[in-house]
Subunit: 166 residues, 2 copies
């Protein structure tokens, strides 16, 4: 059966009657973009968590390491702004990764308040493998999509969350 476009009509049964539900009708919720986006997001996130577990990385850990790898010297504030994590909550995340010797802090060249973050050699190795796994996992989690559909989906999703392009 293809995706229902229209929700079922509201049931005519009075609320006082004792009804039994055979199969749950979710057709209305399925007309909502938020419902579909959330369900799809959770489905991918689930696969992501499983595949990152062997590296001992949660999604936020992966995101931090990947961003530090591609932005050597990035500050905690910049990470917070990019990932939507509040500063007090990033402290522990960075602290753990530092304790695992995956990243290191270095004094910021121009700003004595800030600290620049860099990957250690171990961090570089780990993030390279983790990013390769993430790229593989992409295809796995969207296995029912063609390459063209994948590109289309990516573009439409970005149209939702990205600010109006200049």
């Amino acid at each position: 059966m293809p995706a229902a476009r229209k929700p079922s009509p509201l049931p005519a049964h009075p609320a006082s009657l004792a009804n039994v539900v055979d199969t749950v009708d979710t057709s209305f919720l399925e007309t909502l973009m938020g419902y579909n986006a959330r369900r799809a997001s959770l489905a991918i996130v689930e696969v992501f968590m499983v595949r990152m577990a062997p590296y001992g990385l949660r999604i936020v850990d992966f995101s931090v390491l990947s961003l530090v790898g591609r932005n050597p010297g990035i500050t905690s504030r910049q990470l917070c702004g990019t990932l939507g994590v509040l500063p007090p909550n990033l402290v522990g995340i960075v602290g753990q990764l530092e304790k695992r010797q995956l990243l290191a802090r270095q004094p910021h060249p121009h700003d004595g308040r800030a600290t620049g973050l860099h990957l250690t050699p171990q961090g570089q190795t780990l993030v390279a493998h983790a990013e390769a796994t993430a790229a593989e996992l992409e295809l796995e989690a969207t296995a029912r999509l063609t390459a063209a559909e994948r590109r289309t989906l990516m573009r439409l999703l970005q149209k939702i969350y990205r600010p109006e392009p200049a």
Copy 2:
């Protein structure tokens, strides 16, 4: 600038150098479907929460009321299965909605262990307004999409999270 398809190459700078990041490069994360789906989902959810606040409904409350409205007599277990909420966590949700007299419990006709849930007249009125608001909000949150793009996006998202159709 259009959506970047390819991530930037890894920086050549050694990790021991003190670098400064001007603008954060997120191009790799943006190649990941999970990242895009999560960002888009959060963007919509944010609007959803704001627009549901006047009704005193969180997203899960809205989902429960909408499902009960379209599935009179639905049980807690069925709600849990549909929404991915664990039974102990649904107790408080249903309890609050019952206390607000938006829904009522009735004995299940065939199963003495179960309880059928029904909307009260107040619940029916509230959910009708909330669903109308949700439908409006859909267009608001996806304002940069055409109607055709919205249908395409919906279909592709469902292709990700829905089990293989029979």
